[in-house]
């Protein structure tokens, strides 16, 4: 019963939060990581940590993998700067994506995001009916 009561408390808290006005979205510090040195560092970190058996490098079409392409602007877990930072720091349960929060310094994670943004090629919006 203790477990049920705890869960009820958590759910009640969740409902209370849902009913309250949405808090302002946290600001993205990405603009502070736009120097050439920051982006180069982000590229090296991506190459040494995120590529290989997981995310494919760059926008060139490589073989399909269970780790998503991070250069096509199609974000599975939210595409704002803060969303991407959150995904990197907390990981994705049940996948090979581990939580990097507390392991890589925040500044290094922002440099990786700066590199991803700089190297991404977002597809142009389609017009008309698409399947």
């Amino acid at each position: 019963m203790a477990a049920v009561r705890f869960t009820l408390a958590v759910c009640a808290g969740t409902l209370a939060i849902a009913a309250a006005p949405a808090p302002p979205a946290p600001a993205s510090p990405l603009s502070s990581y736009q120097s050439a040195a920051d982006i180069a560092r982000g590229k090296s970190l991506f190459a040494g940590t995120c590529g290989a058996y997981c995310h494919r490098p760059g926008t060139t079409a490589g073989p399909a993998t269970d780790a998503p392409n991070l250069f096509d602007c199609d974000w599975r877990h939210g595409g704002s700067d803060v969303d991407i930072f959150h995904t990197i720091t907390t990981g994705v349960a049940g996948t090979r994506m581990v939580a990097f929060g507390g392991a890589l310094p925040d500044a290094e994670i922002w440099r990786i995001i700066a590199y991803l943004r700089s190297a991404s090629q977002c597809p142009k919006p389609t017009t008309g009916n698409t399947p």
Binding site: T14, A47, G48, G51, A93
Partner: protein
């Protein structure tokens, strides 16, 4: 699977249940347990034990049986026997009779990810593991499930390369499986109940285990994976009956130990060098052989100047103590991920006209080695892949002559072969026919450009230092080979070329027919003497498993797993449109 959490759904369900149960929850004098019974949901079943013990007629698996290896009726170890031949003495399947193979039964794994296991068969029972550590005991004649155990794994595993498991070890009345979260578990083979469960390594530090354990005498041996996380490798021995650890031998020396001078600074501390495949045992010299994988970080060696012992090496160990007798290093200071952990054969052969007790190995780096197994002395290396550019040859002591242009670069332009996955890879087996002295080696032909990056070592996060640009795979140029290598000479007797990399294991038979599978979803049989394709069956799933051959009541069976893992399969070749999902096919000879 219960690995995924859905908190929002859970909240809604609990609220609904709470509203129904609220009156009794509020009453202070409820009998104990009543309210709990109204809201508690039973946990999902994770084990289905045998009501009555199964496979008992055969009695416990003895040390003598394990020393003998497969006698045709059984398949007792991952390697088929301690020499790792994966060769059945059965003569019933021949080039003339193989056409009479038909499906006897099939069994689903219910999991995605590569189905890489080699089944084990004893006493009419087949023990087979799936991805995500399900262990099934099946009637080897009919496929009926006798018992099943699903390990409940955490959702934050550290897996470089998919949720594979390659099988069990069996000894006495116990069957052993190692897990993706670093446990070694012993089961009563007759009921499926857990006898003991020990933690080998903390998965949060980057460790996992994918290989089948090995049993010699009273010891169960296992290695670990973790080379893409900088997790320091080791080989462990456990008491088979109690699960108590008997010894641990690190694959990277500590400060003050011989060999640590081959690592610059403190780089040995995050040197990886995992022991992620199954070893072999030589009773004559009482030696345990185990192989070791890449130094960490994989593709940037700047911080670990030196040869980086004992990465990418073959180790000869005292099975009682774990003490190192000798080592041979295939790829010193590796920066391509050319793990030394590929299939080894303990062969008695001829070299320069003289008999020699040797170890033969098709290595991930593209060379086929012959090493004196009594001393570790290098005898010969010959190229078994078609494309090899990272080295210009191997010198008289067995040290590769590295091509400087093949070193990883920040913006690479040089095409390097073989791929980081090989050649052959430790995720699948080769096989050896002692009658003809031919070794049969499935391999990848897929060259890459190796890029160098920055890695920061923090336990539990990737520590790779670069990546391979999958050049040939991107351009649709990858293909696969099954090569027959004459162990006496190192020369290629024949080759079969497949449109996609060959990434599944092999079993040979004394009838002259070998079995394997390909990534196009076919089970395949070849004439061992000529390489002629004799038989195929469309299993559907990508072939990534290890076939076995056994005989029950005079009928011969061949078991072949089906089911790939897109993340790694596509790394070696073009993207596949074949869905994941494991299925075991068992054929019988009519």
């Amino acid at each position: 699977m219960t690995r995924f959490h859905r908190p929002a759904l859970a909240c809604a369900s609990v609220l609904a249940m709470a509203m129904l149960a609220a009156p009794s929850m509020a009453a202070p004098n409820d009998p104990p347990g009543v309210a709990d019974a109204e809201v508690a949901l039973p946990p999902p079943p994770t084990a289905w034990y045998a009501d009555k013990p199964v496979g008992t007629a055969a009695g416990p698996v003895s040390a003598a049986q394990l020393a003998k290896g497969t006698d045709g009726t059984s398949w007792l170890t991952y390697g088929g026997d301690y020499r790792n031949f994966r060769h059945s003495p059965l003569t019933s399947i021949t080039p003339a009779t193989v056409k009479n193979l038909h499906v006897a039964w099939s069994a689903p794994t219910g999991t995605v990810g590569q189905f890489e296991a080699s089944p084990v068969v004893y006493g009419g029972v087949m023990y087979v593991t799936t991805s995500y550590n399900r262990l099934l005991a099946l009637d080897a004649k009919t496929g009926v499930i006798l018992w099943r155990y699903d390990v409940q794994l955490p959702s934050d595993l550290r897996l470089c390369c998919g949720p594979a498991n390659r099988g069990v070890a069996i000894g006495g009345d116990l069957v052993f499986m190692a897990t993706l979260d670093g446990h070694l578990i012993a089961f009563d083979r007759t009921t499926g109940r857990v006898a003991w469960n020990e933690v080998v390594a903390d998965y949060k530090q980057g460790y996992s285990i994918t290989a089948a354990p090995l049993i010699v005498g009273d010891h169960v041996y296992t290695g670990v994976a973790g080379g893409e996380f900088g997790a320091r490798g080791f080989i462990d021995a456990y008491d088979m009956k109690t699960g108590k650890r008997v010894w641990r031998t690190n694959t990277v020396p500590s400060a003050g130990e011989p060999g640590v001078e081959t690592w610059a600074g403190d780089s040995w501390k995050s040197g990886g060098s995992p022991s992620w495949t199954t070893g072999a045992y030589d009773a004559e010299t009482n030696t345990l052989f185990w192989t070791v994988g890449n130094p960490s970080p994989d593709w940037n060696g700047d911080t670990r100047a030196g040869d980086n012992l004992y990465s990418n090496s073959l180790l000869a160990l005292d099975p009682a103590t774990g003490k190192l007798k000798w080592h041979f290093q295939f790829t010193p200071h590796d920066v391509w991920d050319y793990d030394g952990n590929t299939h080894i054969f303990l062969v008695d052969t001829v070299f320069n006209g003289k008999p020699v007790k040797a170890i033969a190995q098709p290595n991930r780096n593209g060379y086929f080695y012959l090493i004196d197994r009594t001393s570790g002395k290098f005898l010969r290396a010959s190229q078994y892949v078609e494309q090899l550019t990272w080295a210009k040859g191997v010198d008289a002591k067995g040290r590769p002559i590295v091509n400087p242009a093949a070193m990883p670069q920040e913006n690479p332009t040089t095409r390097v072969c073989p791929s980081n996955l090989g050649g052959i890879n430790g995720a699948w087996t080769a096989a050896f026919d002692p009658g003809t002295s031919l070794a049969f080696v499935p391999s990848i032909e897929s060259c890459q450009q190796f890029a160098k990056g920055v890695a920061v070592h923090v336990p539990g996060i990737p520590f790779m230092g670069g990546f391979p640009n999958t050049t040939d795979a991107n351009e649709g140029k990858s293909y696969g080979l099954l090569s027959a290598v004459d162990v006496k000479t190192g020369k290629i007797a024949w080759r079969y070329r497949d449109a996609r990399p060959m990434m599944a294991g092999v079993a040979t038979t004394a009838g002259g027919v070998l079995f394997t599978s390909n990534q196009q979803g076919e089970a395949l049989a070849f004439n061992q003497a000529t390489g002629d394709k004799l038989w195929s069956f469309r299993m559907g799933g990508v072939g990534r498993g290890q076939p076995i051959v056994y005989q029950l009541d005079g009928t011969t069976y061949v078991a072949i797993p089906s089911g790939g893992f897109t993340g790694i399969d596509s790394f070696a070749g073009a993207a596949s449109n074949i869905p994941e999902g494991g299925q075991l096919f068992v054929f019988k000879l009519d």
